[in-house]
């Protein structure tokens, strides 16, 4: 069968199991947009290419399938660089197709030419410039293989216009041959045995659960390991939901804005069992002072993560689920006795930890009378008045931290956010992608007013395509997180952070984009507004929650500081608390 390169591309995407793609056409990709009309793949037309990339990410987050986006050359390719980088940082599988000028024009500064493979080399797991239409099926098959296996990530295919117009003889490869790419899934038995030794003797162990567990679909295995060995679990920002927040062993989120118990338990642990996390600086604080007494078991499918920040005592290369299951098998006594019988006594540690939990819960104060409205209160009401398996998508800033802190994540794949890159504007498009991937679920974006203004136009795409996402803007009239830093570290000298609560008129804007718009100014209006929003299922809803400008995110570990210096709130720090409870 003879096909054009363009037809071969669409056919290859279909063969790769693609059901949905996000994109926007233009000159260099025009040939491919013609067979889009005949394809079984649903195409969601975006309003800005950054939106296409984040939608593909949101889709990938909640489905576990690779997200696919397609855009034209030049400015469209540069517009999608941010999502590529975001996906690279957070290990999200994406396949992005960009149009390119004709081969003969490459290097001539042709109209809408840009060196897309050059620009994206640093932010993709791999990329391709297609030079022969006969290579298209092979390259597409390789791209999906690379994007979804090992440590997942974005792969870009740059497709010159003459290559999509040229003819090729169709085939579909039944395997890929990549001699330089052989991710290791299986784990080394000797390393598992060493890890088991450390777990057996640890008196203050903590499981440091990272996003890799979600990628490996290892939530159940994690729960079995934690329960069997009775070990506390912290879930990083990327791993919220992988272990239920309501579980007695769950300590919640560690890090710069983690809760006191999660931060301090890691800090004072004698064993950290890192499962698919990467010792990100937002978790460790100053790495030189991080968890000084802890031995480290580090499971990662990417061997380069071992020793990148912290040298592990036991490095386990492999798939997180395979590793956790191997640990379970090795720790489970063959005689039917309780696994904990073979472990060190940890009762002192347990009571220390529960003491912290009691003494230092996350807290805030919603003044009676409802004014000013506290953002944390909004998050709690959203949590309590939406289905338990609601998917929550956050932007980047204070609202993101409040969402992570005050939501209760009890199911995996219910939390979507931009962790590594911290991309403002992520929430709206990622929520749309998530809703496309899980139309059966309620999807709420918890966004900031600043973030919303960066990508709100994608709500037009959502209205046009009947994708009924819900967006709650925690409108504090500021680039709040930056304001918080200026307040705390720059003597309240507020520089270029004021946005205004009224401009834009979010309700009017929402309605102009075909959404339902609701404004909420006091605590009493919160629940009725949420109830009203939940009842709308034929279009997106935007709620403009006017929240307290002065509210700050606590606890906080100042950047570059030690996690021992955690600040609990405006009323001072944790020093006093640490004394007396710290194991010597």
């Amino acid at each position: 069968m003879e096909l054009t390169g363009a037809q071969a591309l669409m056919r290859s995407l279909e063969m790769s199991g693609v059901e949905v793609m996000f994109g926007l056409p233009g000159g260099a990709i025009l040939p491919v947009y013609d067979p889009v009309l005949d394809s079984s793949i649903r195409h969601v037309l975006v309003r800005h290419e950054q939106g296409a990339g984040h939608m593909a990410q949101g889709y990938a987050h909640v489905t576990g399938k690779p997200g696919v986006a397609m855009v034209t050359s030049g400015p469209a390719a540069t517009n999608i660089v941010t999502p590529l980088c975001d996906a690279f940082m957070d290990s999200i599988p994406l396949v992005v197709v960009t149009g390119q000028v004709a081969m003969s024009a490459i290097g001539s500064d042709a109209f809408q030419e840009c060196d897309t493979t050059g620009i994206t080399m640093a932010v993709t797991k791999h990329n391709y410039l297609v030079t022969d239409p006969a290579d298209i099926p092979r390259i597409v098959a390789e791209a999906f293989h690379i994007a979804t296996t090992g440590r997942p990530g974005p792969v870009l295919i740059d497709l010159p216009k003459d290559v999509s117009n040229a003819m090729m003889t169709w085939y579909w490869p039944d395997s890929v041959d990549l001699p330089g790419y052989q991710p290791q899934r299986d784990v080394d038995a000797a390393a598992i045995a060493e890890a088991v030794q450390l777990i057996r003797t640890a008196e203050r162990p903590v499981i440091y659960a990272g996003g890799g567990l979600l990628k490996a679909r290892a939530a159940e295995a994690l729960r079995e390991l934690a329960e069997m060995c009775d070990i506390h679990v912290v879930t990083t920002l990327m791993a919220r939901g992988v272990f239920p927040d309501r579980h007695r062993l769950c300590l919640g989120m560690p890090g710069m804005h983690g809760n006191y118990t999660a931060v301090t338990a890691m800090q004072q642990a004698d064993l950290l069992i890192n499962l698919g996390a990467r010792f990100d600086d937002r978790v460790t604080g100053n790495p030189a002072h991080f968890a000084p007494d802890a031995k480290v078991i580090h499971v990662d499918i990417d061997p380069a993560e071992h020793g990148k920040v912290r040298v592990p005592d036991v490095a386990i290369v492999g798939d997180a689920k395979v590793a956790v299951e191997a640990l379970i098998a090795a720790l489970r006594p063959s005689d039917g006795s309780a696994a904990t019988d073979a472990l060190a006594d940890r009762s002192a540690w347990k009571s220390t930890v529960s003491g912290w939990q009691e003494q230092f819960p996350l807290s805030y104060d919603q003044p009676s009378g409802g004014h000013p409205l506290k953002p944390q209160y909004v998050v709690e009401q959203l949590r309590d008045h939406t289905p338990d398996d609601t998917i929550v998508v956050a932007g980047v800033g204070q609202h993101q931290m409040w969402a992570s802190q005050f939501w209760q994540f009890d199911y995996p794949y219910t939390w979507v956010n931009s962790g590594g890159l911290g991309t403002m504007g992520f929430a709206v498009p990622a929520a749309i992608g998530a809703k496309v991937g899980r139309p059966d679920r309620t999807v709420w974006a918890i966004d900031g007013d600043g973030c919303f203004q960066m990508t709100a136009q994608e709500l037009i795409s959502a209205s046009a395509e009947n994708i009924p996402v819900k967006v709650g803007i925690l409108n504090n009239a500021y680039l709040g997180m930056v304001r918080q830093w200026q307040e705390l570290f720059y003597a309240e000298r507020y520089s270029e952070v004021y946005l205004s609560a009224d401009h834009p008129d979010y309700v009017g804007w929402a309605e102009a984009m075909g959404c339902v718009g609701i404004r909420v100014e006091s605590a009493e209006e919160v629940v009725p507004a949420i109830t009203k929003a939940n009842a709308v299922n034929d279009r997106p809803v935007v709620i403009d929650f006017r929240v307290d400008t002065d509210e700050k995110v606590y606890p906080m570990v100042p950047a570059g500081g030690s996690n021992d210096d955690i600040i609990l709130g405006p009323e001072g720090d944790a020093d006093a608390a640490l004394k007396g409870t710290a194991p010597s």
Partner: protein, 189 residues
């Protein structure tokens, strides 16, 4: 946490102050697919991870589908294993290994245009290193010397007094010695 709060706000926390130090050179050999952009991928990886390339030599292997690259890296402030592991992540890199100088044979080629009013004296110097005079005219000579890079350094120093008008060195290439053990990282490079 999220990167939101300060990736862009607090450079001081990650800044590394490096003082001029003696280079600590390590040799890596990589077999790579001879594909478009491979060298750019490697160079890009080195620059974005802050690894310092001291020299780099690339040419196709006996099988023209692959190239062999010898990279000499100054590993001050860098974990040697990170370099190998990050390189190994590149899809087009088939394998990578570190060559220890004690286990390896190293060579580098130098071409130099030197002052040669006293041609005999120049010839004396380079013949000590097995070099040869390729060209001479008007009190200048072009010489070629191939030797172990350390010896080449010495040769270069000895030629300096004659006037070293143009100097081109290739960067080193290296092979594991026949009786050396295989390294822990990588395999058959």
């Amino acid at each position: 946490m999220s990167g939101a709060q300060g990736t862009n706000l607090s450079p001081e926390e990650t800044a590394v102050v490096s003082l001029p130090q003696e280079p600590d050179l390590h040799i890596f050999a990589a077999i790579v697919e001879n594909k478009f952009g491979v060298l750019a991928r490697i160079a890009g990886l080195f620059s974005r991870r802050g690894f310092n390339i001291f020299s780099l030599a690339v040419a196709p292997t006996a099988d023209p589908e692959y190239s062999r690259i010898t990279i000499v890296v100054d590993v001050h402030n860098t974990d040697v294993n990170q370099i190998a592991k990050q390189l190994d992540k590149l899809v087009n890199v088939i394998n990578i290994s570190e060559l220890h100088p004690s286990d390896s044979l190293e060579r580098e080629l130098m071409l130099a245009r030197v002052g040669a009013v006293d041609l005999e004296a120049v010839t004396d110097v380079i013949s000590e290193y097995g070099g040869e005079v390729l060209d001479q005219a008007d009190g200048e000579a072009i010489v070629s010397v191939s030797a172990h890079p350390d010896r080449l350094d010495r040769c270069e120093r000895q030629l300096r007094p004659f006037g070293l008008h143009v100097l081109q060195r290739t960067g080193r290439i290296a092979l594991r010695a026949l009786d050396a053990d295989e390294p822990a990282v990588g395999m058959t490079a």
